[in-house]
Amino acid sequence: MIHIAGLHKHYREGGNDNHVLRGVSLDVAKGELVALMGQSGSGKSTLLNIVGALDGDYEGEVVVGGQSLRGLGDKARSRFRNRTVSFVFQQFHLLPHLSVADNVALPAWFDRDERGKDQHARAVALLERVRLGSKVATSPRLLSGGEKQRVAIARALFNHPALLLADEPTGALDSASGALVLELFRETNRQDGLTVVIVTHDPEVARVCDRVIHIRDGRIEPAEGAPAAAGEGA
């Protein structure tokens, strides 16, 4: 699902060169549930944004779902984000002026093929799946953190993505809500065969994942009991 080889990322600001990713090489198979761990500032979010085509400024090879992200224009990248990957963020990022169901159906706004389809029914079905069937018409403002994150997950699933990228999805939640969110990730991973990458600090999250990838000093640490997976960079 994901193939990364020799990925470098610099943040250049005012003469400072922050070399964040220093030759990341990584493969994630279709249907895997992977945890990405590492210290704060180690470049997890940066890596996730590159994989999700939110950030196209890097060197190296990144192939997601068989598609190389190199050299894609804004339109193609937007379409890729709309169809192939989905994000779940720590801060939920729901639109406060829309109802819960409308938030879930948001991806349809940017999808030509969605014209004329019954988006509301699909949104309602997804909300039922994330145990929020009773909050369809509610404003996101009235939801708890855990509920907000479940709405965000429903939204992420709306366009049937192949890959779900979650950046510290439980970071802002209490443990009970976090557990429910985590359960939802596992459920979708099992039932739909969705590939999921979760950035987390929480060992509990890492425990339920198929695999844990550690990132340190801009490189992937070799997995225990496996030969070094990290490439030497370009």
Binding site: N49, R79, R81, F87, Q90, W109, F110
Partner: protein
């Protein structure tokens, strides 16, 4: 992103942030209101005031003059200012019609107004002549004929055969129904019985006429044929052998002749229109103000149709709408004639209301209706300023106010040009009536007439001072309109800066929203489009509200004008001319400035890095 989606996003944003939307719109509303108000005012003044005084497609030219020891002298030979000049002017490119204007060349007095003021006002009379054709539209407009007809159509109208059968202020129309009198129709040269002294001479008669039997008539002796529609017959009133032959209009009944003539069997067979001779009884009665005195008695006819002189003969007065016009001040006899139709300049009424009325202790005049149809007397050959002509050529005639025109003489009265020509010829000879004083040229549309003016100058003509004033006024109006439009554009420019600021704030506030949209699939163009459409919405709303505001304000100004400019007659009811083009122009300006203002914010929103705003 489909337009529908963009619109719904924009609608949501506006609803969420009404305050910012209204605040951003204020500048545009004020700008559009200013623009709409002043452009409509400019167009309104042009159409309702300037074009009435001098239509865009009309200019008046007169012989150019040079100053010679304190007096002005024409540079062209006055002899050139005759019909030939009319033809020359007509042949100029751009000129579609030429209307010559002729001033009076004889002294005259006038008096009248007894019915209105209680006594007669007397004054020297200055008059000029204009082509009725030139004034038809103008007169109808000033008289509000359309209005009259519309109102008349709503009422039940009585059938009639004669004007007397209709109520006061109404006449018997061509449709056989009573209707409001339309005075503008009366502005045409009446057929006058022009007296003359030198028998056989043509010096004081119009072209083609000669002095026969004391009147200017069209002779046809010596085989000279008459014009079509008239036939050769012995001069009416002449009995016995050797009477001169004259042309008389053909007719089958009285209806074919004008009001002052009847259809008579001619001695040589056939019928012709013959003027009705009349007398007022005593010569002093010609000065009378009483309509009954003026109606006189028709000589040689009986009202009941019996032969004249028989015992049952009922005396006949001059027909309706005519009076007995006495030949001169030394006799009591003359011919029935229609009153002279006269136009006044509205300015005259303004002057009367603003100064004359109060100094003479009279009521100010209120509008047109009060004066239309008023009769007064004109005394030709008499003067308060210079000497009188011989008593036996002085003549007193009845005149009637039939309309108002800005083209009429400011201090005096305006008659049909043919009437002035006949009077000038009668009193000052043929040569005096051969030349015109000014020419009104009609051009096609509102083209630039500068080239035409150049050509006229080569021919020794220049714009009349009135035309020059009109051009100056139009130029000034144009400049003022441009200045105020510019001001409103500046206001919109300020509004655009305001929009930039507001939008930058809003976009910072909404950066997470924009980021999530981008993460979900919005392209940069989508984001930009939402911002620009939101700005366009301000433009559309601002234009609608601004137009309403400007329109509302114009109504206030109109109401205020109606109230405070009461003394000025003929001011337009509406000083504004609203037009879809003003709206379209305002919309275009508003959109341009809104989009300009939103350009930088839209760019900023589109280039927002979603990775940065989403990951905290």
């Amino acid at each position: 992103m489909e337009l529908r989606r963009v619109l719904s996003v924009v609608w949501g944003n506006i609803r969420r942030n009404k305050r910012a939307f209204i605040l951003s719109s204020v500048g545009i509303i004020v700008g559009v209101a200013t623009l709409t108000f002043f452009v409509a005012l400019g167009m309104g003044i042009q159409a309702g005031v300037l074009n009435r005084i001098y239509p865009v497609n009309q200019i008046e030219v007169e012989p150019a003059t040079v100053g010679v020891v304190g007096l002005r002298e024409a540079v062209v030979d006055p002899a050139l200012l005759g019909p030939r000049m009319v033809d020359t002017l007509r042949s100029l490119p751009d000129v579609t019609a030429v209307y010559p204007k002729m001033r009076s060349r004889l002294q005259a007095r006038l008096w009248g107004g007894k019915t209105m003021f209680g006594y007669n006002m007397r004054t020297e009379a200055f008059f000029d002549g204009l082509d009725p054709e030139l004034l038809q539209e103008d007169l109808q407009q000033t008289e509000r004929v359309e209005d009259k007809r519309r109102r008349a159509a709503l009422r039940k109208r009585g059938a009639c055969k004669k004007d007397e059968e209709c109520p006061l202020g109404q006449e018997c129309g061509e449709d056989g129904l009573c209707g409001r009198i339309e005075y503008w129709r009366r502005f045409e040269a009446p057929s006058l019985a022009i007296p003359c002294e030198e028998e056989g001479s043509d010096e004081h008669c119009l072209a083609g006429q000669r002095c026969l039997g004391g009147l200017c008539r069209t002779p046809c002796e010596g085989g000279a044929a008459c014009d079509e529609g008239s036939s050769c017959a012995p001069q009416p009133g002449c009995e016995g052998e050797g009477c001169p032959q004259v042309c008389l209009p053909d007719c089958a009944s009285d209806a074919d002749c004008d009001e002052a003539s009847v259809c008579d069997a001619l001695p040589g067979g056939g019928h012709g229109c013959v003027r009705l001779p009349c007398t007022v009884g005593q010569k002093d009665r010609q000065y009378s103000d009483s309509p009954r005195d003026l109606a006189g008695t028709v000589t040689g006819r009986c009202a009941n149709g019996v032969p004249y002189g028989s015992a049952t003969c009922e005396p006949m007065t001059c027909p309706d709408d005519t009076y007995c016009a006495v030949r001169d001040t030394t006799v009591a006899e003359g011919y029935c004639e229609k009153p002279l139709p006269v136009l006044l300049n509205p300015f005259l009424i303004e002057v009367f209301n603003s100064s004359v009325a109060s100094s003479l202790g009279l009521q100010p005049l209120d509008g047109v209706e009060a004066i239309l149809g008023i009769s007064f007397r004109m005394h030709f050959g008499g003067s308060y300023f210079t000497g009188d002509l011989a008593k036996n050529v002085q003549a007193v005639k009845l005149a009637q106010v039939v309309g108002f025109s800005q083209k009429a003489l400011e201090f005096g009265v305006t008659l049909p040009i043919d009437t002035v020509r006949a009077l000038n010829t009668r009193y000052k000879g043929r040569d005096s009536a051969r030349t015109y004083d000014t020419f009104i040229l009609e051009t096609e549309g509102n083209e630039d007439v500068s080239a035409l003016i150049g050509e006229l100058e080569e021919r020794g003509l220049s714009l009349s001072s009135r035309s020059q004033d009109a051009r100056k006024a139009a130029d000034l109006l144009f400049i003022l309109t441009v200045v105020f439009s510019f001001i409103s554009v500046v206001i919109m420019g300020v509004a655009a800066v305001n929009i930039t600021h507001t939008f930058l704030t809003i976009i910072t506030e909404r950066r997470h929203e924009i980021g999530i949209m981008r993460a979900i699939g919005a392209t940069r163009a989508d984001v930009r489009r939402v911002v620009l459409v939101e700005a366009a919405a301000i433009g559309v709303f601002g234009t609608l509200a601004g137009t309403l505001l400007g329109f509302g304000f114009s109504r206030l100004v109109n109401a205020a004008a109606a109230r405070y400019l009461e003394g000025i007659p003929f001011k337009p009811d509406d000083f504004f001319h609203f037009d879809w083009r003003i709206f379209a122009g305002a919309l275009v300006f508003a959109l341009i400035f809104c989009l300009l203002g939103a350009f930088v914010p839209a760019q900023r929103a589109a280039s927002l890095d979603p990775a940065r705003v989403l990951v905290s």
